[in-house]
C-alpha cells in the first residue's frame, strides 16, 4: 500500500461521524454499600491476582432473566449446623444450594452437593477450601482470588466475576474487557456478594442458612476455622428494642457484615425475597427491625485495630497486616443513613428480608 494515499471506505466518505457519548456508570450506589467495608488483602496483591486470573480464559458470569426458583445460600455461621435438617428438607424439595468458603466440603460430607460455589477472598489459605471439587458444581471465583484457588479447579466448571473494592481494578478490567464486564456489588464478605450474584443470575427467592454475624455457644463457624480463633470480640445488646432480649458476642468482621447487610437491604431490598434462618444476630435484628447505633459501632471499632490473626501462605498464623479491615484509601466512611424501617421489618410476604425461625 502506497504511503501517499490512504484508502477511505465509501461509508466514511458518505457520512461524517460524530462522537457518541458513552454513558457514565452510576457509582453512587456502589459507594453507599461498599465503602463501609475494608479489604484483608493489599491493593498490590489484588492487582496481581486480577492481572493473572483474567488471562485464564474463563467465562464471566452474565445476567439472566428472573426466575421463580428457590436457592439456598449456606454460610458457615454456627446456626448452619442447628438448622441443617431444615436445609436438607429444602434441598430434597429441589432448592439449589450455593456454598461459600468452607461450607462446600461440609455440605458434601453430609450428602448435599452444592450447585454453585462462591469465593471472594483473595487470601491464599482460601484455596484449602477447594480440596474436593465435584463435577456437578459451578465454581464462581472473584478475579481477586488467589491464583492457587483457580489452579485447584483446573478441569472443573469455573466462572469469574469482579468486585470493586479498589478503584484500581477498573483500570485493569476496562482495557482488558473493553468495558464488557460487570461489577458485582455487595459488602466485604462472600455471602453479601453471593446474594447479589444469585440475583444477577435471576434468583430472587433466597434462603440464607448460617448467616449469623455472631458467635453462638463459643463458636464462630459451624466447622473448625483456625483463622478466626482468638479474634477479639465485643458484646452487643438491643435493649432499646427488646428490654429482656439476649446479648450477642460479635467479632469486628461480623459487625461490619451486619452493617453492610443492612445497607444492602435498604438499597436493593426490593430486588429479592430473603429468608434468614437460625438464631443468629442477623435473624434477630430482622425480627426486631433493629439497626446498629453509634455506640455499638464504636464498640466494634475498638475491637478492630488489634484483633485476630491472618494465616500466612505457609499456613501458620501471623500478625494481621495493617490493611486488614481498613477502609480503602480514597474513600471516606459515611455516616450510616437512617434505614427505611419497612425494609428491615419481618414480613410474611413481599420483597425484602425476613427472619425465619
Amino acid at each position: 500500500m502506497s504511503n501517499s494515499k490512504k484508502l477511505v471506505s465509501e461509508k466514511k466518505q458518505e457520512k461524517s461521524r460524530g462522537k457518541r457519548a458513552v454513558p457514565r456508570k452510576h457509582t453512587m450506589f456502589f459507594d453507599e454499600v461498599v465503602d463501609v467495608g475494608g479489604m484483608n488483602t493489599s491493593e498490590d496483591r489484588i492487582k496481581q491476582h486480577i492481572e493473572h486470573n483474567i488471562r485464564l480464559g474463563l467465562p464471566q458470569i452474565k445476567p439472566y432473566l428472573l426466575n421463580k426458583d428457590n436457592v439456598i445460600i449456606a454460610a458457615g455461621g454456627p446456626s448452619l449446623e442447628s438448622c441443617f435438617d431444615e436445609l436438607k428438607e429444602q434441598y430434597e424439595k429441589g432448592y439449589k444450594v450455593v456454598a461459600v468458603n468452607n461450607t462446600h466440603d461440609w455440605l458434601i460430607e453430609r450428602g448435599i452437593n452444592p450447585s454453585v460455589y462462591v469465593m471472594l477472598d483473595g487470601r491464599p489459605f482460601n484455596s484449602s477450601f477447594l480440596n474436593n471439587p465435584i463435577p456437578s458444581c459451578k465454581y464462581f471465583l472473584s478475579s481477586q482470588c488467589h491464583p492457587d484457588s483457580f489452579r485447584k479447579l483446573a478441569g472443573h466448571q469455573v466462572y469469574i466475576f469482579h468486585c470493586d473494592a479498589y478503584a484500581v481494578e477498573k483500570e485493569i478490567l476496562e482495557p482488558f474487557y473493553q468495558n464488557n464486564y460487570h461489577i458485582i456489588i455487595g459488602g466485604s464478605t462472600v455471602v453479601l456478594r453471593a446474594i447479589m450474584l444469585m440475583r444477577m443470575l435471576g434468583f430472587q427467592y433466597i434462603d440464607l442458612y448460617g448467616f449469623d454475624s455472631c458467635w453462638i455457644d463459643d463458636k464462630h463457624h459451624s466447622y473448625e476455622q483456625k483463622q478466626n480463633d482468638g479474634e477479639k470480640t465485643c458484646i452487643l445488646s438491643f435493649r432499646d428494642y427488646d428490654p429482656d432480649g439476649p446479648t450477642f458476642k460479635v467479632s469486628f468482621w461480623m459487625g461490619k457484615q451486619l452493617q453492610e447487610f443492612q445497607r444492602l437491604v435498604n438499597q436493593v431490598g426490593d430486588l429479592f425475597k430473603l429468608n434468614v434462618h437460625g438464631d443468629g444476630l442477623v435473624a434477630y435484628m430482622l425480627k426486631l427491625g433493629a439497626e446498629l447505633n453509634q455506640e455499638q459501632m464504636e464498640q466494634l471499632k475498638e475491637i478492630d485495630d488489634e484483633s485476630g490473626t491472618e494465616v500466612k501462605e505457609s499456613g501458620e498464623p501471623s500478625a494481621r497486616n495493617s490493611d486488614h479491615n481498613k477502609v480503602p484509601q480514597g474513600k471516606t466512611t459515611r455516616k450510616a443513613r437512617r434505614p427505611r424501617r419497612k425494609a428491615l421489618e419481618s414480613k410474611d410476604c413481599g420483597a425484602g428480608a425476613r427472619a425465619t425461625n
Partner: protein
C-alpha cells in the same frame, strides 16, 4: 442420483446473504473494523504480514489493515456488501468458507475472522475452522454469543451457531493452540495458533 430432496446448504446460505446485503443497514453494523486494534494488540502483527479477512463482509477491516501496510486478501460467500473502495483496491475471492478455499500459496500469517463463525451452520463450524487452520498460521476470532435481529428483516435466522464462550474456547483449543481468549459477555475473542 436425482437430488429432489435437499438443496445444497451452501447455496441456501449464499442466497440468504445476497438478500441480506440488500439492506443497507446491515453493512453499517460490521464490527470487524473496530476490532483491528485489538487484533494487532493480541497478535503483535507487523506489516507487511499477509492477512486473510475471513468472511470480509463490506471489507472495512481490510481497508484499515491495508492502510497500515499489511498485505490483505478477502474471502466471502458474496461480494454484494463489499465497500466500493475495498472492491477496487483489495483482492477478493468468492468462496464457501467450509469448502476448499481457492488459495495455493503458503499459509497466510494471520486469519482475521470477525462476526463470522456464529453465522456458519452448526454442522459446518469445525470444517470452517479446519479450512482456516489449513490456510493460516494464526487466527483471530470474534464470535457473537447471542442471537441477532437483522435476519428478521428477510425472515431468516442469521446466527445459526449460538454457543457459550467456553464452548468455542474448548473447540478452538482442540483444533489449534489457544494463545489468548476473552469473554466480552455478548461476544468472545479468541486468538489461536495452528
Amino acid at each position: 442420483m436425482e437430488q429432489w430432496f435437499l438443496g445444497n446448504p451452501r447455496d441456501a446460505e449464499e442466497d440468504k446473504y445476497e438478500r441480506m446485503w440488500d439492506h443497507e443497514a446491515y453493512g453499517d453494523h460490521s464490527p470487524g473494523e473496530q476490532l483491528v486494534d485489538l487484533f494487532l494488540e493480541m497478535s503483535g502483527a507487523k506489516p507487511p504480514a499477509r492477512i486473510i479477512d475471513i468472511g470480509s463482509g463490506p471489507g472495512r477491516a481490510s481497508i484499515k489493515l491495508a492502510n497500515l501496510d499489511f498485505n490483505v486478501r478477502m474471502i466471502d460467500f458474496t461480494d454484494k456488501g463489499l465497500d466500493k473502495t475495498a472492491r477496487q483496491h483489495i483482492p477478493f475471492n468468492r468462496g464457501c468458507l467450509w469448502e476448499e478455499w481457492p488459495f495455493k500459496n503458503p499459509p497466510f500469517d494471520y486469519g482475521f475472522c470477525c462476526d463470522v463463525m456464529e453465522h456458519i451452520p452448526p454442522e459446518y463450524t469445525m470444517l470452517t475452522i479446519h479450512q482456516i487452520r489449513k490456510h493460516c498460521s494464526k487466527a483471530f476470532f470474534h464470535i457473537s454469543l447471542i442471537n441477532d435481529a437483522f435476519g428478521d428483516s428477510i425472515g431468516e435466522t442469521l446466527h445459526l451457531s449460538i454457543c457459550p464462550f467456553e464452548w468455542w474456547r474448548d473447540r478452538l483449543n482442540g483444533m489449534g493452540e489457544l494463545i489468548e481468549c476473552r469473554d466480552f459477555l455478548k461476544t468472545g475473542i479468541y486468538y489461536v495458533q495452528f
